[in-house]
Amino acid sequence: MNKIQIKIIHNNLNILIYYLTRNNIKFEYLCSKKNNHYFKIYKSDYKRVKNKFKKVKLVDYYGKERIIKFIKKNYIFILSLAFGLLILYFLSTTIFFIEINTNNDELKNKLYNELNSYNIRKYGRIKSYKELNKIKKDILKNNQDKLEWLEIKREGTKYEVLLTERVIPIINNLNNSPRHIVASKDALIKHIVSNKGVILKDVNDYVKKGEIIISGDLYKGETYIKSFKASGEVYGEVWYTVKTIIPYKYIEYVRNGKVINHYYLEFLGNKMSLIGRYNTNMSMNNTFLLVDKPYLGLRIYKEVKELYEYKEFKVSKDEAYKEAIKRSDKSIKNKLKDKEYIISKKVLNISPMSSKIEIEVFYKVYENITDTLLIEEKKE
């Protein structure tokens, strides 16, 4: 039975209650505000009460009827809310981006196709954790030769595929394949150490780049027998010409020791300074990301600015000459490894000008010129 709330306007509450009681009208007295008296009665008794008292008003419904009335009154809002929630659910369970973190395009395409076959595609539905684990295992099983590890990570409406490619050890095969020892550059041979192979050149022979020095081919007379891996080391005299220019006046950037920490906020691509704003072109800047909230479009950075100053230096002609020689030597020495050294050097040309000095130095360098050349299989 549905109940309703009514308001009866009457100057005597007792009369109302006696009437309801004597007429066996079930009721609950709620409250009174001046002459307005509120009762809760059954809907079926409403007509009887209304016939007796003129000023009766239906104020509210209870139970099922209240819900129906509310829905009827607010159906547009309820429908919009339900529709909105449905769209939200639909959008939040749809994948809009798939990102595979590898530079290997072939593998990337293969994985896209493979994920597609498991219905992981752009505008597809998201998968449960269990399904995702199964897919991951299957892909790894199908690509054992190419993949070491694979992880499919969901970030909102994006799937990020993290992977480690399997590196196939092919170096061992290469190490044992037949090869010659050849010259890595044009040089005059100074020293040959042969562990295995046929030496074709002598010390003080001139060789061009790529010329065979120790051969990996074995001949008996003029008949080819087999190829093997030649091994050894060859040192030669290599020639370089270095040209260096030193100005009499030059400017250097020197750190002045000042460091400025600048904090700024980046919101939707716009920068806003928070603390330590300092505008200068004379600084080396390092930027660190402190707070990253991409869904709010907000980032906070720390920029460390090391300040520099210009300093002008002046040198005499003699000092410039010495500096040029020093720099030329340094440029050669930087290239040299163990057992390698400068045999001799000769200044070929000095061109002193009004603002700079230009020198050309010739170097003879004792250098390892060993290189290898794989031997292709010969068919007899």
Binding site: I17, R22, N24, E28, Y29
Partner: protein, 78 residues
């Protein structure tokens, strides 16, 4: 024991609860008479007469009645 069981299942026993300024009666039959100082209620095999001031029935249901009053006396009779 059987009577207790039947009484529990049928739930025909009346109950009159007296509280501060309120009287609650459960399982009444009908209201015999009411005015601002007296109310007589039939409880089946007994009747109750309640005397008081400013009697207001706050709730009236099929089995229950809640009365607000300044109680002066309650009298049961047959």
């Amino acid at each position: 024991m059987l009577r207790n069981l039947v009484s529990y299942i049928k739930d025909n026993d009346y109950l009159v609860g007296v509280y501060k300024n309120k009287i609650y009666i459960y399982n009444y039959k009908y209201i015999m008479d009411i005015d601002s100082n007296n109310i007589k209620i039939n409880l089946g095999n007994k009747k109750v007469k309640i005397n008081g001031k400013n009697i207001v029935v706050e709730k009236l249901e099929n089995k229950e009645i809640l009365i607000k009053l300044e109680c002066k006396g309650i009298e049961f009779y047959e």
